[in-house]
C-alpha cells in the first residue's frame, strides 16, 4: 500500500478526449520524435520524469527540456505533486487531452 502524500493535486480537472491542433507552430512540436514519444506516454496516465525515463529510456535532462517545451505550449501540465515515504517530492505530468488530432487547412 502506498503511503504517498498528496501535497497538490489537479486530478479533478476534466481531461478532454480529443484536442484538435490547428496552429501550425504546434504541429512541429507534436511531431518532433522525442516530444511525440513523451506525449504518447502521458495520454492515459500521469508520470514523473523518472517514470518516463524508465519507460522510454531517455536521459532525464532531455525529458525535462522536452516537457518544459510541451508545458510552455500547453500540451502537457503538472497534474499533481506528491511526497513519498521518505518525503521526496515527486512532480507528475499529464497530457492535456487523451488524443491529439492535427488539422491544417490551406488557405
Amino acid at each position: 500500500m502506498s503511503k504517498n502524500t498528496k501535497i497538490n493535486s489537479t486530478e479533478k480537472q476534466e481531461i478532454p478526449d480529443e484536442l484538435i491542433i490547428t496552429d501550425s507552430s504546434l504541429v512541429l512540436i507534436v511531431l518532433h520524435d522525442k516530444k511525440k514519444l513523451i506525449l504518447e506516454q502521458l495520454l492515459e496516465k500521469d508520470m514523473t520524469i523518472q517514470d518516463l525515463r524508465q519507460s522510454i529510456g531517455l536521459n532525464p535532462g532531455t525529458i525535462k527540456r522536452h516537457l518544459d517545451d510541451l508545458k510552455k505550449n500547453n500540451l502537457v501540465f503538472e497534474s499533481r505533486i506528491e511526497k513519498n515515504d521518505y518525503n521526496i517530492t515527486m512532480k507528475y505530468y499529464r497530457a492535456v487531452a487523451r488524443s491529439f488530432k492535427i488539422r491544417i487547412q490551406i488557405p
Binding site: 525515463r53 521526496i88 515527486m90
Partner: protein, 297 residues
C-alpha cells in the same frame, strides 16, 4: 517489556539510518555525473584561482622597482609579514571559491529530493554557486571553526614546526581524539544549516532550523552522522595522522586513496544525507518565503 521497547527504539533508529544511507546512495548512483563533475570543477576552480592570483601578485611585485620578487617571497625578507598576508588572502579567496562550488552539491541534493523532478544536472551547480556564493563558504568556515582553532593551537604550541616533528604521546593522542569529539558535536549542531539555507534562503533561519533538528531528533541525527563519521571521517583522520608522523609510502598511498574516496563519495553523500534528514524528520519548520508571501496576499 521495557527492554523490548528499548530494543525496538534502537532498531527503529538504526533502520532510519539504514534508510538515510540507502536513499542517499541510490540518489548518488542515479546522478553521479552531476556530483562528480561538481567536485572536479571545484578542484579546478581552486587550482586556477591560486595560480591566477599568485601570478597577478608576482606581476605586481615585479613592477615595483624597489622590491625583488625573490626578496618579497623569501623567508628572511623584510616584507615577509606583508607577503604572508597576501598569501593568506589568496588562499582564503581560493578556498572560498572551492567551498562555494563543493557545497553547490547541497543544491543538487535539493533538486533530487525536494524540487519534484527527482534528478539533477551538473550545470545546476553553477546556479547554486551564483545564488549562495558567499553563504556556503561562510557556513563551511563556521563548521570548521573547531579544527581551525585546534590547528592554530598546535602551531603556537610547537612554534610552527612541521607536524611530523610533534611528539606522539598520550597527551597528543588525547588532544586529537578530543578535537574529533568536539568537531562531531559541532558538526551535529550545524550541518543541517546547508539544506535549510538551500530551502529557506535565509542565513538566520538555517541556524535556527539546524538546532531544532538536533533537538527534536537527537538519536536519528547522532546515528546517521556517527555512521558517516565512521565510514568517511575517522579513517581519513587516522590515516592522515599516521602518514604525517611515520613518513611511509604505503600509508601515504592509503591516505591518498581514502582522500579520493571521501572527496568523490563522501562529500556527495554528506549533502544527500543532510537533505534526506532535513526533509524526513519532524521539527518546527519555517515556511519558505514564497509560501508566506502567497498566504499573506
Amino acid at each position: 517489556m521495557q527492554t523490548n521497547t528499548k530494543s525496538n527504539q534502537k532498531s527503529s533508529t538504526f533502520s532510519e539510518t539504514k534508510m538515510d544511507f540507502k536513499i542517499a546512495w541510490q540518489s548518488l548512483k542515479g546522478n553521479y555525473k552531476a556530483f562528480i563533475g561538481t567536485v572536479i570543477f571545484a578542484g579546478l576552480a581552486l587550482f586556477i584561482t591560486l595560480i591566477t592570483l599568485t601570478s597577478i601578485l608576482i606581476l605586481i611585485v615585479a613592477l615595483i622597482p624597489t622590491i625583488s620578487v625573490d626578496e618579497f617571497f623569501g623567508k628572511f625578507s623584510n616584507n615577509f609579514g606583508l607577503s604572508r598576508i597576501f598569501r593568506i588572502l589568496i588562499g582564503l579567496i581560493a578556498i572560498s571559491i572551492f567551498y562555494a562550488f563543493l557545497n553547490s552539491q547541497h543544491g543538487l541534493a535539493y533538486d533530487i529530493m525536494s524540487s519534484g523532478e527527482m534528478f539533477t544536472e551538473f550545470k545546476n551547480s553553477f546556479a547554486y554557486f551564483k545564488k549562495y556564493w558567499w553563504q556556503y563558504p561562510l557556513l563551511t568556515f563556521f563548521l570548521m571553526i573547531i579544527n581551525t582553532l585546534f590547528s592554530l593551537g598546535y602551531r603556537f604550541e610547537n612554534s610552527g614546526s612541521h607536524i611530523h616533528n610533534y611528539p606522539i604521546n598520550i597527551i597528543q593522542i588525547s588532544l586529537n581524539i578530543g578535537e574529533l569529539i568536539l568537531f562531531f558535536i559541532w558538526f551535529l549542531l550545524f550541518i543541517h544549516t546547508f539544506p535549510s539555507l538551500t530551502s529557506q534562503g535565509s542565513f538566520k533561519r538555517s541556524y535556527t532550523e539546524s538546532l531544532r533538528i538536533i533537538k527534536s531528533n537527537p538519536k536519528r541525527v547522532i546515528s546517521t552522522w556517527g555512521t558517516f563519521f565512521m565510514i568517511f571521517v575517522i579513517p581519513l583522520i587516522t590515516l592522515g595522522f599516521f602518514a604525517e608522523h611515520f613518513i611511509n609510502l604505503y600509508l601515504a598511498i592509503a591516505f591518498g586513496i581514502d582522500f579520493i574516496f571521501v572527496i568523490f563519495i563522501g562529500f556527495p553523500m554528506l549533502s544527500l544525507l543532510a537533505r534526506g534528514i532535513y526533509n524526513n524528520v519532524e521539527f518546527q519548520r519555517f515556511k519558505p518565503d514564497l509560501e508566506e508571501k502567497i498566504e499573506g496576499n
